[in-house]
Each structure stands twice: as C-alpha cells, then as structure tokens.
C-alpha cells in the first residue's frame, strides 16, 4: 500500500455495490405477492395498555375529585367499606351518586408497556449474560487444567472440550433439557443457560490455554525466581497478560454466545427469536419481523464490539 492512494473512489464503489444489491433484493421481493405491513411492527416494541379499573363490590360513587388528567373516585359499599380508584379523567364512566355492581368499570388507566420484542430481547440479554459469566469461569478452570502439569486434570479438560466441540449445540440443548432436565428436575431456564455455558466454556478454555501459552516462559521464571508461588504467578503475572492478549477472541466468543442463545427457543424459552416467531403467528408479517429481529441482534453485538474495542485501548497503555 502506498500512502498517496485515494480512498474516495473505493468508497463510492462500495456504496454503489451495496445499493445495487439492495435494489436487487427489492426488485425480487416486488416479483412475489407480499404486502409489507411495517406499521404493525412498532406495537411489538412498546404498546399503550389500557387497564380497566373496576369496583370490587356492589356500592355507590360517593365522590369524584378531578385533578387535571386524573380523577380520584371514592366508592362506598353497602357495608360502608371505602375504596378510592384513580382513573384518567377522559375515560371516566360514572358520575357521583351512581349505583354500581361488583366488577363494573369505573374508568381506565393507560400505561406504556414493553412489547414481546423488547421482552424477548431482555430474556436474550440476561440469559446470555449469565451464560457468559459461567462460560468464563468454566473456561478459565478448564483452560488452567489444560496447561496443568497433572495428567488427570489435563485429561478431564480434554474430554470436556472434545465432547462439547464435537457435538452440535442444538443437540446439547436437547440433551440438557430432555435428558438432564428430566433426571435432575431442572427448569428450562437452568437447562438453557447451562447448555450455553458449557458450550461457551469449551471454546473459552481453548482461548485461555492459547493465551497462557503465548506468555513467554521467562515471565514465569522471573516471578518464581522472586519466590512467588505458582498460584501467585498465575494471578499476578500470567493471567493479566494473557487476558489482554485474548480479549479479541474472547469477545468474539461472547458475541457468538449471544447469537447461539437463539437456539434455546427450541425448548420454549421466550427469547428474542421465539418472540419473533410468536408475533409472526398472529400477524403473518414474516419478512418484517425476521428483519427486525436480525437488526436487534446486530445492534446488541455491535454495541458489545464497541465496548471491547474501548477496553482494548484502555489496556494498551503498557504496550
């Protein structure tokens, strides 16, 4: 590469290629009979829920105190119980002195709620977060076992890593839920998180092993020659340096884990993917929903990449 080469013609070329590809897809979609209904999507992010406020007994409206947007309705039962309900003034359905029966609607309170897409996203996030933490712990233990001098520890770590990496995650989730879940009476969330953590841990173990082995042996020798024990050497010298080296592959692994978490939808955990599928069954907006779900995963993984990029720059001060 020479430094004088202009970059803007290539930027234009990139833009042209992307536009042509988008136009191609757009044209192909036009060929088939599909009615786009984007307006249906937003309500699955947030929606305005109207909750009816009902009288819990037979009684009368003793007083209505209007206070701008809301109104306080005081209700008295035949046995002189008093209940005050707050409703929106506009939705008020009763007047002072009116007699009501149990469960009659007095008015409504409306409130913004999270739609299924946001709830699914939340499930995906916490599921992945917990699975990541366990994957990190498992991976660290298995990674240390892999570089251990002890044959048994090395063997155990090898069996774990090979079994997990040699079988599909989908099958592991089925085994975790239908076999282990049944035998040990575990909930679907525990099975889902457990399968993801075990799966991620096997890959994290290999990343840790590589990172530890990439630290020059002179570092261990220097620490040991100062009288530090092997655990102290690991904690203070090897792992901090290894961690810095493995941050990029480690973050890649966690991004994979977020994406792989979509597979837990097969054991009926309502994550982002399952929410998408449920919305489609009621709206038939297949194209829109899957595109939106993909975009939501993309936003999460991009944000994580940015965080890692920032951490790498912070850790680079000693280079």
């Amino acid at each position: 590469m020479n430094g004088t080469e202009k970059i803007w013609p290539w930027k234009i070329l990139l833009a042209v290629i992307l536009i042509v590809m988008a136009a191609g897809i757009w044209g192909s979609v036009r060929q088939i009979d599909y009615k786009w209904r984007w307006y249906r999507v937003p309500q699955y992010f947030f929606y305005l829920a109207e909750d009816a406020q009902k009288i819990p007994f037979d009684g009368t409206v003793s007083k209505i105190a209007k206070d701008g947007e809301t109104a306080k309705v005081r209700l008295v039962s035949e046995s002189s119980e008093i209940v005050t309900l707050v409703v929106e003034t506009e939705s008020l359905k009763v007047s002072e002195g009116e007699e009501l029966f149990e469960d009659d609607t007095v008015g409504f309170i409306s409130e913004w709620r999270l739609g299924p897409l946001m709830k699914g996203l939340w499930t995906t996030l916490w599921l992945s977060a917990i699975a990541s933490v366990f994957a990190l712990i498992l991976g660290l233990i298995a990674g240390l076992a892999k570089v251990s001098k002890n044959y048994t520890l090395r063997g155990l770590a090898m069996v774990y890593v090979e079994c997990i990496r040699g079988t599909p995650l989908l099958v592991q989730i089925f085994i975790a839920y239908f076999f282990l879940g049944t035998v040990f009476d575990l909930s679907r969330n525990v099975c889902g998180i457990g399968a993801l953590a075990l799966f991620g841990g096997a890959y994290v173990a290999e990343i840790f092993r590589a990172g530890i082995q990439a630290i020059p042996p002179g570092q261990t020798e220097a620490a040991r020659s100062l009288g530090m024990t092997m655990p102290q050497t690991m904690m203070d010298i090897i792992l901090p340096q290894a961690f810095k080296k493995i941050l990029p592959p480690l973050s890649g692994q966690f991004i994979s884990l977020i994406k792989d978490s979509s597979l837990v939808s097969v054991i009926a955990i309502t994550d982002l993917t399952k929410s998408g599928r449920e919305i489609i069954t009621s709206t038939f907006a297949t194209f829109e929903v899957w595109l939106v779900v993909a975009a939501m995963y993309l936003v999460v993984t991009s944000l994580l990449s940015q965080v890692v990029f920032y951490m790498e720059r912070r850790l680079a001060v000693s280079d």
Partner: protein, 244 residues
C-alpha cells in the same frame, strides 16, 4: 554460602539424553564474586539455573546457606527469597510499572506493606540510577534501563546471593557499561555473586574466581590473573584466543 557437589543435569529429547551439566562441584564463599565463562552450550546457564531451582538437577547436591535443594522437604520458594536472579532477557513484567515490578514480590512473598515496599523500591531505583522512571512501563525504557530495573527488582527481596545469567548479552553495546557499573558496585558492597557472562573485562576486573566450563564440566578454575595470563588447559587457551 553455595556448595555444589557432583551436580548432573540430564535433558531427554527424542530418545537421546544430553548431559547438560556433567558432575559440577564448586563452592562459593560469602561475599565472593564468581564468574562462569565458556562457549555456548557448555552448560553454564543450566548450572546457574540449578542453583535457584529453575532447573531441577538429576543427581548431586546443592546447598545454599546450609539448605539442601535436593531434599524433598525443602521449600524452594523460601530458598528463592534468598537467591536473586537476573536474566538475559530482563523478563520485567510488562503490564506493571517499574515501581510495581519492584514492589510486587516484596508484598506477596516478604509480606511487606505497600509503603515499606515502595520505600525500598525507590531506594533501589536511586541506587541503579533511574528513580525518575518509577511510574513508567518497562516498554518505555531502554534495554540498559530495563536490566538495571531487573537488578533492582531482584535486590528488593534482599537476597543473600545474586545470580546473573548473561545479563549484558541482549543489550546494545553502548548500554553494556551502565549495567556492568551497577554490578561492580554490588560486588564492592560485598554481595555474593555468580555471574555467567561473556564480558571478559568484567571477569578480569571484578571476579575473585573464574570458572571455565565446557561440555557440562568445569575445565579450569582460577583467579583472573592466573586465568587470563597463564591458563593451563588447552581448551581454555583456545577459548580465550577466540574471545579476546
């Protein structure tokens, strides 16, 4: 101080066995500076590394201040507290500042408080002439400065013996002097030192005794005067002709 008796170190690789150290016996008195010279592959570094247990020797005995390294009950970490080591490649901890490099083992192993450890560290940085680098990371230092920090790091543990494994071999020529000056000062202060080096000038000036090793054995021992003026052995003469 250090007593080595018939030390043998075997390396096994692909079915062949190499006698890297082949029956070395010697003694180092308190306050003595012993320089070990010899061609590469002569086993001198391996022997040095046996003294603080970085290499586990196969046969023989090494006792340091009366403690037998070959004894299974010996806590090697206790021995290493008393035996400082300086490496060819410095081996500073790159993720820690110079000050942290000097205080870490003091705090973890000697269990000193942060304040005491830092005072000791600064005192030693003054001694090696770079107190202004305390807050820097090793990567910002020249090779000579890094090696001086490495010497200070070993000294911070207040060892009874200092081992130097070719401490100037990885340095640019103009930086050799500053490291040798620190080592000479240490020798004058009465530190017990075993130095593996190719610096014949240092050996001549500072050594109380010179060991010449070849093929895992000590070929010749003597004072620097004897050694550089009238060596007995043919191999010693040949080696000196090549390096001088």
């Amino acid at each position: 101080m250090i007593k080595a008796e018939n030390v043998v170190k075997l390396f096994h690789s692909r079915g062949t066995t190499v006698r890297a150290v082949d029956g070395v016996s010697t003694e180092v008195e308190r306050g003595e500076v012993v320089v070990v010279i010899g061609p590469s592959g002569s086993g001198k570094s391996t022997f040095l590394r046996c003294i603080n247990g970085l290499e586990v020797f196969s046969e023989g005995h090494i006792t340091i201040d009366g403690v037998d390294l070959a004894d299974k009950k010996t806590n090697i970490n206790k021995v290493r507290m008393e035996v400082g080591m300086v490496f060819q490649q410095f081996n500073l901890f790159p993720h820690k500042t110079v000050l942290e490099n000097l205080t870490l083992a003091q705090r973890r192993v000697r269990k000193r408080s942060k304040k005491v450890a830092e005072e000791k560290a600064m005192e030693l940085l003054h001694k090696v002439g770079i107190p202004e680098k305390a807050g820097e990371y090793p990567s910002r230092l020249s090779g000579g400065q890094q090696q001086r920090v490495a010497i200070a790091r070993a000294l911070a543990m207040e060892p009874k013996v200092m081992l130097f494994d070719e401490p100037t071999s990885a340095l640019d020529p103009e930086m050799v002097g500053e490291v040798l000056d620190v080592m000479k000062q240490l020798a004058r202060e009465g530190m017990t030192m075993v130095v593996v080096t190719h610096e014949m000038g240092f050996a001549r000036e500072v050594a109380d005794r010179v060991l010449f090793m070849d093929e895992g054995k000590i070929v010749e021992v003597g004072t620097p005067e004897h050694f550089f003026t009238e060596p007995r052995e043919e191999r010693t003469k040949l080696f000196l002709k090549q390096v001088l």
